[in-house]
Symmetry: C2
Subunit: 323 residues, 2 copies
C-alpha cells in the first residue's frame, strides 16, 4: 500500500457530465470526507475549478490541511494522463483542450494527476478492489457508454498519445451495426451500455408481440434497470435482452483476451449489477468462443468497489502515484 505517514491522504475528483464528486481518501481506501457540485452549472472551466476548490478546501482543512495531502487524482471523460488535460469531451460544458491538472495544481499547490474515468476505475480496482495484486487485467465500465481501463505488467496502458483503451468502440457488427455517438456503426457500446440495453429492449418489443412486463412502460422511457426488474420477475423477453447483450459482450471479451491474455476481466457499473442475468450469458459466450489456449484461464469478476464511492476512490488512487 502506498501509505505515507506525513501525507496520509489523497484527494479524488470524479468529473461526470452531471455531477463532480470529490473526496479525501486514506491509504486503506476509506473516504474520510466527500462532497459534490453540479458540473454543468459552470460554463467556464475557470469558474468550475474555483467552485470545486471552494468546496474542497474546507474538507482538506478539517483533515489537517494541504500538507497532509500527497496528491490529487482526477478521473474525467477524455482525460489525457500524459498532458493532464481533457480534450474535446462531448459531455462536458468546456470545449477544446482544458489543462485541468495544472489549474488545480496552481490553485491548491498539490501535485495533480488526471486520467480518463475508466482508467481511474481500473486504478481504484487495482489499489482497493477486486484486482488487488493483479498485474494483468481489464476493467470494463458499463454505464451510459462502455469504457475500459487496461493494466498490463502492473501498469496502466495509456498508449503513445495517452488515449489507449477505448474498448467501447471496437466494432462488433460490421454489417447493419447500430449508429454510435462516435459517428461510426456497430460499436460495442451501442449494444452493451445501459443505453444499448434500452435500445435492444425497444427493438425486441417492436420485433415481436410477445407479452412482457416492459410493455407497460412507454418505449422511450425504458431503462436497463426496468429490464433488470422485469427479468427478476421472470419476464422472458427481458431475459432475452440480457442474453443478447451478454452474448455480444462475451464475444468482445474473447477478442480482448486474445490481445493481452489478462488474469481477470472486471465489470463495473450499473449493468454489471444485474448479476446472473448478465454474467451467465457473458460467461456462456466466452466459453463458446474462446481460443483453445485461453480456455478457462481468465476470471470474470464484478467490481468490489461500492458504486457510490468507486469513482472518487478510483480517481484518488492516482493521487498516490504523483511524483
Amino acid at each position: 500500500m502506498n501509505s505515507n505517514m506525513e501525507k496520509p491522504y489523497v484527494v479524488g475528483i470524479d468529473i461526470g457530465g452531471t455531477n463532480t464528486v470529490f473526496g479525501i481518501v486514506d491509504a486503506r481506501g476509506s473516504i474520510v470526507a466527500i462532497n459534490s457540485i453540479k458540473t454543468g452549472a459552470y460554463a467556464q472551466a475557470d469558474e468550475y475549478v474555483d467552485a470545486v476548490c471552494k468546496n474542497l478546501l474546507p474538507l482538506i482543512e478539517a483533515n489537517g490541511g494541504v500538507d497532509k495531502i500527497k496528491g490529487i487524482g482526477i478521473g474525467a471523460p477524455n482525460g489525457n494522463y500524459y498532458s493532464g488535460t481533457i480534450e474535446f469531451a462531448p459531455n462536458l460544458p468546456w470545449k477544446g483542450i482544458i489543462p485541468l491538472a495544472k489549474m488545480f495544481e496552481e490553485r491548491l499547490g498539490i501535485p495533480t494527476t488526471l486520467t480518463n474515468d475508466a482508467n481511474a476505475a481500473a486504478i481504484g480496482e487495482m489499489t482497493y478492489g477486486a484486482a488487488r495484486g493483479m498485474k494483468d487485467f481489464i476493467m470494463i465500465t458499463l454505464g451510459t457508454g462502455v469504457g475500459s481501463g487496461i493494466v498490463i505488467n502492473g501498469q496502466m496502458v495509456y498508449g503513445h498519445d495517452g488515449f489507449a483503451g477505448e474498448l467501447g468502440h471496437v466494432i462488433m457488427r460490421r454489417e447493419n451495426g447500430r449508429l454510435c455517438g462516435c459517428g461510426r456503426k456497430g460499436c460495442l457500446e451501442t449494444y452493451c451500455s445501459a443505453t444499448g440495453v434500452a435500445r435492444t429492449a425497444r427493438e425486441f418489443l417492436t420485433a415481436s408481440t410477445e407479452p412482457s412486463l416492459l410493455r407497460a412502460i412507454p418505449a422511450e422511457e425504458i431503462t436497463s434497470k426496468d429490464v433488470y426488474d422485469a427479468a427478476v420477475k421472470g419476464d422472458t423477453l427481458a431475459m432475452n435482452i440480457f442474453n443478447f447483450t451478454g452474448t455480444i459482450l462475451g464475444e468482445a471479451l474473447v477478442d480482448f483476451i486474445a490481445f493481452s491474455s489478462p488474469e481477470a476481466i472486471v465489470l463495473f457499473g450499473g449493468l454489471a449489477k444485474s448479476g446472473k442475468y448478465i454474467f451467465d450469458p457473458i460467461q456462456k459466450a466466452i466459453d463458446a468462443n474462446i481460443l483453445p489456449i485461453y480456455k478457462g484461464k481468465t476470471k470474470l469478476l464484478m467490481s468490489e468497489l461500492k458504486d457510490s464511492d468507486a469513482a472518487v476512490l478510483g480517481a484518488s488512487a492516482l493521487g498516490w502515484e504523483v511524483k
Copy 2:
C-alpha cells in the same frame, strides 16, 4: 544498444515447421554466422536439440567459444516466455509440453530465453529494425497464418499466462465467417494470411467470370505471390483481392489501435512485401474507420528486417535480455 564487451554475441534460433535456422549475431544486428537443419527430421525433441547443438557449436567455436555468447534467444510457434516451453504446437513434430529453453541451457551452458515467433519478430524490430526507440507498437506477421507481437510501455506483452497477442484470431466476420484452423470461424488469419489471400482468390474466381491472369493457374495451386504478380501486371481481379484483404486487415488494425493506441503498426512477412497493393487498401480502411481521437496518429510501417535474416535476428534479440 545492449552491447557487452566481454560477451559480444548472442545466438538466435528460429524454429519453423520446416526449417530451424540458427545464427550468431553481434550487438549491431549483424549475423556473423548462420546455419540450418530440417525441423521435421527429428521425431524426438532430444534428438532435435542434439542436432541443433551439433551444428551450432562449430559456429560458436569459430567465434571465440561459449564464453563470448551472452545468451540464446529462441523463437518458436506456441512458445511460452515464462516457462521456456513450447506447448502443443500443431506444426511441430513433438507433442505436449517441451522444455526447450532448459534443454538448450543444459547442453550448452548458456542462458536461454524462448518466446513465440511473432514476439521474437517484434523484439527484433524493436532492437534492430523499424521500431527502434518506440515504446508502443504492434507487429503483425503476415505469413501462413497471422501472428502478432505487442509492445506497450517498452515491454513485450506476454499476459498472465505467457500467451498474449494472438491477434490473428480476433473475429472479423461473425456471420458466415471462414473456418479457421483453430476450430472457430471468421478469424482475421482466414482472410489476411498468405493462405487467406489464396482462399480469397479461389472465391473471387468462382464468383465471377471476370477475365484474370490467375485463371491460367490451377485454382488449388494459386499463392499470394501469384496474386501479387498478377496485380503488378494490372490484373483487376488480383487488385480486388488485395483490396478485400487490405480492407479487412485495416478494419482489424482500427480495433487494435482502440486497445493500445500504438505509435506504429509494423507489418512483416511475404504479404507485407506486396507494397502499395496491400498497404493502400489497409491505410484507406484505417482512415475510413478510425475513431476520431486516433485519426492520423498511428504510423503504418513495413518491417525493416531483411526477410531471410529477420527470424534469427528477432530470436537473437531475446538473447540480450537474459539475466
